[in-house]
């Protein structure tokens, strides 16, 4: 089994993908693979090219340079095969608002050629998964935003896709619903070994993923596990408030530590904890406050681009 897995072709392959709109290049020569059964996230600010890439992979946008494969099928020439293998939860609602939840799911089953005899069973399965079984006869237009998103996830799964694309799956949802949606996503990945491909600009969401590609201005500027990214690009930082700044600065310079002087505190880059402890021990009596912060993916983005990813913005 191990060797078979190791030799397995990645479920998603992107080679030198470039997408232009007229003179504007939305995505510039990006390449990456996604392993089957993993959770992959695109992280980046709005307009970075995340949605363009996801939409092209989902066969919505035509005309691009490079090679895209999903499940070994060419996205440009084997659209129908690609479409049968994927489920999509779009950024905006794409439910049929005029119909009930059940009618939406039935329609989807017909589109994806789910055998008639299995439809009922599958509807029950996916609705149980997202806790909406009691709502099946309700019109979609009467549902809240979070419920609609859950219906979309259920719909994206009902034809048993190998890859589920989620474009900003939790954008515009309240924190509680966001947490729920993530529960469903993680449960599915574990139980059904479905590959999850998602875009987000929430840091905490990207932290959960197996692999994160950071996009900015249409390019992938870093791609690794969340841990690997933080290790490579961020440092832990100590924020120290002291009554004797001159002494602290002297000690820091002695230990060759990088620091920045802010209005109320000193921000110290922590390369190794031993040096920090030395410094702090020596000026212990002056220190009034201390806080140590671990690096985040936001710091990774900041480190690479010099900017912050706007959090909680509109999608």
């Amino acid at each position: 089994m191990m060797t078979e897995n190791a030799a397995k072709r990645p479920i998603i392959e992107v080679k030198n993908f470039t997408k232009r709109y007229g003179n504007f290049t939305a995505v510039r020569d990006i390449s990456f693979d996604v392993a089957e059964g993993s959770i992959f996230a695109f992280l980046g600010p709005n307009g970075a090219g995340k949605s363009t890439t996801i939409n092209t992979l989902c066969t919505i946008y035509d005309g691009y340079d490079g090679e895209l494969y999903i499940g070994g099928n060419d996205v440009a020439t084997q659209k129908s095969a690609v479409r049968s293998n994927i489920g999509i939860v779009f950024q905006e609602c794409t439910l049929d608002l005029k119909m009930t939840i059940e009618e939406n799911l039935r329609m989807h089953c017909v589109f994806y050629g789910v055998p008639r005899a299995e439809i009922e069973e599958r509807i029950e399965f996916v609705l149980t998964l997202v806790d909406l079984l009691d709502w099946r006869k309700r019109s979609v237009s009467a549902l809240s935003g979070g419920m609609k998103r859950r219906v979309e996830i259920a719909r994206g799964l009902i034809h048993y896709p190998r890859v589920l694309f989620l474009d900003e799956p939790t954008a515009g949802l309240d924190p509680q619903t966001r947490a729920h949606v993530w529960e469903y996503i993680l449960q599915l990945q574990k139980e059904k070994n479905i590959t999850m491909f998602l875009t987000t600009h929430y840091m905490d969401e990207a932290e959960i993923c197996d692999s994160v590609a950071i996009m900015d201005h249409g390019e992938i500027i870093a791609h690794d596990t969340p841990f690997g990214l933080k290790k490579q690009y961020t440092k832990d930082r100590a924020y120290v408030t002291t009554s004797n700044p001159a002494f602290l600065e002297k000690l820091l310079t002695q230990h060759e530590m990088t620091f920045a002087v802010k209005e109320k505190f000193h921000r110290i880059d922590v390369d190794d904890n031993a040096s920090l402890l030395h410094v702090l021990a020596e000026c212990r009596k002056d220190i009034t406050d201390i806080e140590i912060r671990k690096g985040t993916l936001n710091d990774v983005f900041l480190e690479i681009t010099g900017r912050e990813i706007r959090e909680g913005g509109d999608a």
Binding site: Y21, N55, I60, Y61, T94, M107, R155
Partner: protein, 277 residues
């Protein structure tokens, strides 16, 4: 086939559930019946009520077939069309589903007025006429469903579609003989009417309802069921053929336009408009 049927059923259901539009669509034609039926109580044309009703029925089928395409735009802007277009179903299949449901809805509306027509004086001698009339309504509905979808794919939003379809359907209806006999138009407008596909739909449907498809040419011209273009007389049979040609053209154009509809661009337009809001 299952997919076409599912799409058809869904569209009929959507039409049925939109109660305000449903009521408007069903009530509106009666306005024409009452206004025009009175005007045409004269000796100029025999069987004036049947003559008038035939015109109104087919005008309603025409209008409905085009206006129902606004639902397609609804589906595009609401996002549902995206779900449809990323499924393995081909766009051609989707277009056929749209045509079929539009033609059905249009015919249903025609049937309702047809039934009411019997109550206010429409007379038919042979039952087979009803079958022919039904087929003709479906045919006309299909032709203009193509026209409607074409407008919808071009307009891309409800406001544009409504303005454009109004600007097109009004003159097409009034320059077709449906309400006003062509002989009452001046030369210029008559010439315009020759290029109007609705003119041929009216002649075809009216000759069927009046059961005069077999009449001699002179008689047909007198009854406004045929007209001369130069030396050639266009009779109901020719009207059917011309209408079929228009139909093929419309269905082709709309299908191509629908298949080529660039959703990446559409999405961007949507974003732009959101920014303005």
């Amino acid at each position: 086939m299952t997919v076409i049927f599912a799409l058809w059923k869904r569209n009929i259901r959507a039409f049925w559930r939109n109660k305000p539009a449903l009521i408007f669509n069903l009530v509106f034609p009666f306005f024409f019946i009452f206004v025009f039926a009175e005007i045409f109580r004269n000796d100029y044309i025999e069987n004036a009520i049947s003559f008038m009703l035939a015109g109104i029925i087919i005008a309603v089928v025409f209008d409905s077939a085009i206006r129902i395409s606004s639902n397609t735009i609804d589906d595009m802007t609401s996002g549902f069309m995206r779900e449809v277009l990323v499924s393995p179903v081909s766009r051609l299949t989707i277009a056929i589903g749209q045509f079929a449901s539009s033609a059905t809805v249009a015919t249903l509306q025609g049937i309702i007025i047809f039934v009411v027509g019997f109550a206010i004086g429409l007379r038919i001698s042979s039952p087979i006429t009803i079958l022919y009339a039904l087929l003709a309504m479906l045919f006309v509905g299909l032709v203009f469903a193509g026209f409607g979808l074409f407008l919808a794919t071009r307009a891309k939003n409800i406001q544009t579609f409504q303005a454009v379809s109004m600007a097109i359907t009004m003159p097409m209806t009034f320059l077709s003989g449906a309400y006003i006999p062509l002989s009452m138009l001046n030369d210029f407008l008559t010439t315009v009417a020759y290029f109007n596909p609705m003119t041929y739909a009216v002649i075809l449907f009216r000759s069927i309802v009046l059961e005069r498809t077999g009449d001699p040419t002179e008689q047909l011209i007198m009854q406004e069921l045929a007209f001369k273009v130069g030396d050639f007389t266009i009779e109901p049979v020719h009207a059917a053929l011309i209408l079929a040609a228009f139909g093929v053209l419309f269905l082709l154009l709309s299908t191509i336009s629908f298949i080529r509809l660039d959703f990446s661009r559409m999405n961007r337009n949507k974003n732009d408009s959101l920014e303005i809001e």
